[in-house]
Structures are given as structure tokens and as C-alpha cells.
Amino acid sequence: MTATETEERIIRYNNAFNETLRELLLDDPDIFIAGEDVGRYGGVFQSFAGLNAEFGDERIVDTPIAEQAIIGLGIGAAAVGLRPIVDLMFMDFVMVAMDQIANQAAKMKYMYGGKAKLPLTITTTGGAGLGAAAQHSQSLEAWLIHVPGLKVVYPSNPYDVKGLLVSCVRDDNPTVFTLHKKMLGSKGHVPEGLYEIPLGEANVVREGTDATVVAIGMMVGEAQKAAEILAEEGVSIEIIDPRTLLPFDIDTVVQSAKKTNRIVIVHEAVRNGGIGAEIAAQIQEEAFDYLDAPIARVAAPFSPVPFSPALENAYVPDAESIAEGVRGVLYRNA
């Protein structure tokens, strides 16, 4: 079911997450949630509010500050048949749990000859913009897409929050689901009830003819603003939201590239080694003869995320920097 098929029901990105968890918990008794402060308190962003009261300490589990054990708890429980959802409060904390995520969860099935089935979902919050500084603002998706065995999604709106979360939780592989913490209050249409957005299917958010902007997470909204700015300049851009970062729907992007011949990729992480590099490399591999300009990347400068709003605002790409990137591939810069 798609947005248009149902009457508009506008809720927040964060509430879509919470509602989806509740519906999933009601739907499947094998699902439990574990993480820091997710229980009694409902999570530091209240994303888990009310779940502990409704489902109890058995299914909504407060854990110690122990990210390796949190992921490991999910791995062990999944290996014997449950369908765990484990939470890393901030995406930056994947670093303290990277072994359990990338050496354990992701590789177990392969190392054990296919016997292990790990229906494990890792939820977390990424992105900058809240003055949370270098260790609470990162976007680390580029690390995750380099890990065979994982699936990785990044919803850019409330509708996708529900559809992607349902697909992640129902998938029989380890998945990483990232909420953008600055988008938690943003609103959008979300139907009641469970629905899936297939993993690995990009979404053409806006059709256009002059250039294609591939945007991730919060950058999708910025790209839409950029589209308005550019429209006034007579420039029509197509916007693609991959939604799933691994596996990546390169076909949809390449199709668009063959149509517009000009590509700008936008993400919040630093450019060097970012996911934009992989997308660019694949596009030029598959649409080389169609490109009328180098594929451009709009991303963060090569520094940790700065604290001061004066710096952070300039650090995170926005509509204007995206528009500038598009002007670049159109050779229209001032």
C-alpha cells in the first residue's frame, strides 16, 4: 500500500518508529527490544515510549552500558530463533560494538556454512545538527556498506520509517536501521498497520530532466528544497532516495543518469571514503558514455563534526550547497 492509496494520516518520524515497534511486537511474539534506557524511560529520544509499560520488562529490556554485549545479546538470541531488535543510542557507538556487528553478526552465517540464521535488527540514531559534537553526530553508513552480510537502511521520512523498519525486522539477516536524530520531529503521512518497503528499492522522490541528485537520509529533504531554488533558475532536477544503502538499487540511479546525464550525490558524512564514492564509482562503470559532466559529491568537509553552531551549520550540507553542486555539473556556477 502506498501513501496515496490511504487517507492522509500525518504523524512524526519518531512516532512512526514507535508505532511500528508496537505493531511489530503485537504481531510477532519472538520480537523483543533491548538497549540502554529503552525500557522504563522509553529511550533518550522517547522513541520507545510506552512499550515497556505495555509489553513488560521481558520484552522491552533495559541493558547495562555495554554495546558489545547488547549486539551480542541480539546475535545469540537470534541464532536460537528469536527476532531481536537491539538499540545503539547513537550511531557513533557502532565503534564500541563494531566487532559484534561486522566480525560476528555479519559473518556468522558464512563462517558457519549457512546454518546460522540471524534475524537481527540494530536500530540507532545518526546525523548532525543538534550541537552534539564529534562523538554524537556522525553518519557512518560507509563503513556498514563495506560489510558483506549486513543490510543497511536510512529512512528520510515517516512513511519510510515504518515500511523500512518492518522490512528490516522481518528480514532474516542482520540489518542496521538508522533514524536521523534531527528529523525525529518531522511530520509525514503514515498509514496505520504494518506494511513493507522492499529492501534494495530506491525511491524517485521527484522527477526531473537536467540533473539527478542522489540524496541520503536528511539530505533528501534538503535536496527537495534545492529543487525549488533551482526550479526558479529554470533547472529541473530528479531526486533519488536510495532508502536502502545495502543492497543498493543502482539500476534506478543508472536509469536516471542515462536520462539526465548529470549526477550530484549528497550525504552528511565526510566525502573521503563516504558512500558517495561507491555510488559514483558504480554510476561511471554503468553509465560512462551517458555522463556529460563529472559526477559531483556534496558532503561534509574532512574534519570531525564541530560543536559550535557557527561551524556545524556550515559543516552539514544543505539546500544551498546542493543547489551549488547541481549548478556545478551544469557548468552554471557563478
Binding site: E36, D37, G39, R40, Y41, V44, D62, T63, P64, I65, A66, E67, Q68, D92, F93, M95, V96, L130, G131, A132, A133, A134, Q135, H136, P301, F302, S303, P304, P306, F307, S308, P309, A310, L311, N313, A314, Y315
Partner: protein, 331 residues
Amino acid sequence: MATKQQSKISKGVLLDLHRRMVRIRLLEEAAGRLASEAKIPGFIHLYVGEEAVAVGGCVALNEDDQITSTHRGHGHLVAKGGQFKPMMAEFMGRSTGYCKGKGGSMHISDLDLGMLGANGIVGAGVPHAVGAAFANKYRKNNLVTMAFFGDGSTNIGAFHEAANMACALHLPVIFMCENNEYAEYTARERVMAITDVADRAVAYGMPGVIVDGMDVVAVYEAAKAAVERARNGDGPSMIECKTYRFYNHAGVSAFGTPYRTDEEVKEWMERDPIKLFEAQLELAKVLSAEEAQAVHDEIQAEVDEAIEYAEASPMPDPATDMLTDVYTEAS
């Protein structure tokens, strides 16, 4: 008891303990106010209620000893000699801050003062204390290092690895636990099957003691003993300070929360370490109520000055400041 202890401690030290606690309290109250007015961006974790721990610990150190800190680092820096102006400026993200506005509250630090940095990652600072202690032993410079950390952080791997390594290498380090009974909004008993963090010392082979973290003299004396031990080459030790944060994990509200009762908060506020100590000092004729008030007033004036300074300070400039300090250039 208080007087008995004080008899062993010079008046100068007692007044120092008092002054540093008041410095933390007044700075934090101001920071909290500014945060709720959105003049301080981001997350802010206040130290109010726990002053006796940082102060008792740091006054037991020499100026050139080092400390490591946590996400709740304001108190540690002030106790180690941190100045208000660059702190306030940092909280507000100004280029005149200790970190040029790049770190903010959660990364407040001054390496020149031996404060090796507040840290946004729970437990991550503890290994750094072990490294500094290693360097001190390596250089035979007779310095010691004190790691501050919370009860909740003792559940994470980095703490465990660091504590074991310090004991295995017999390093001059003091593990200073601020057990305020909560990790964010989760009570200790929900995430630990033990009551006293000090019970963890035996797992590493170091002594562990428990002190009243609201009694600055008790903390100071325990710290003194541990520091002496470390300086004498007798290795690490752990001190668990039973304390409490008066405000919530972040921000300045204290009451009406689901995770702890107002009664509990009020009970602990009754044991305000500054009020307790001021009563002791008056009783011992070391500092009268009037003199104490004068200290508060003087420090408050310094805080107000710091706020003016910070607000008048420029923001960093993306064009020139964004990409500096990422790397140390070859000299």
C-alpha cells in the same frame, strides 16, 4: 568525626576544598540556566550534587598530576583549576573557549592543566588515564593520574580492560568512581547485580574502598591515601564515592521524573555536600556563615563576568576554523 578529620587537615586545604566546590556549583547553576535559555547549545550534563568527588580527588593531587574525565566533565575541570571564562565561552561555542568552540561541554578540557579531556563515549577516558600513568612511570617523573568515571561506565568493556591493564602493569593511577546510582535514566540495580562498584577492585587485584561522596573531607582523605600509594610505586587503587546528581542526566530539572522519586531526590539534596561542609567549617570555626557567603558572592561575580565575556566573544569562522586542528602540521 568531621572535626576529628579536619584536625589532620590544614585550614588552607579546608578553605580550598570549600572554594572549589562552590566554584563548581555556581558555574553549573549558571550553565544550566543558560542551557535552558538555549544560550548553550547541545547536551549539557551538570555536576551539581557531586562536587565533593571531583574536589576531594583533585585537591589530593599535585598541580601537574593528570586526570581524565567523562561526559559530565565541568566539575572535574574546575576542580583541576579550570577558568570560568574559557569554559563559559566553550559551552557557548565561542572561539575563545578552551576548545575554540569545537568541543563544547561534552569535550571540555585543558591539557595544560593536566585535564586530559571530557569524553562523549562512556568509559573511553579510563584507558587514557592508564596511558598517562604509564608515561609517568616510564619517565619516573613521580606524577600520578586519576580517572573519574561513573557507576554505569564500569559496565562497559573499556573500563574493564583499562583497570586490568593498570593493575597488570602496576601503574600509578587512581580509579575514582562517582556512583550516583543511575546511568542516564536507568537505576543501578536494573543493570548491575552488585551494590558496590568497589567490589570490582578485587577482580583486578587492587584495593577498593567506599566513601561518602557527599563528605568532601572523606573523599579527600581516601584520595590522599590512594595518591600516596600510587606515588610510592604501590600501584593502582579504586575509590567508590557514593554520591548523587541533583538534576536529571541532562539539563536542570530535578523533580517529577519517572525514573527516580522526588522523595529520593529531596533526601539526597538534604545531604548537599556544600551545605554539609559549610556546617562543619562553621562548627570548627574555620569559616563563618558570613565568610562563606562572601566566598559565594565573590565567585558568583566571577561567573557573571565569565558569562559577559563569553557572550561578547566571537563565534568561530567556518572559512578559517573548520579545517584547522584536524592534524598537527610538521614543525
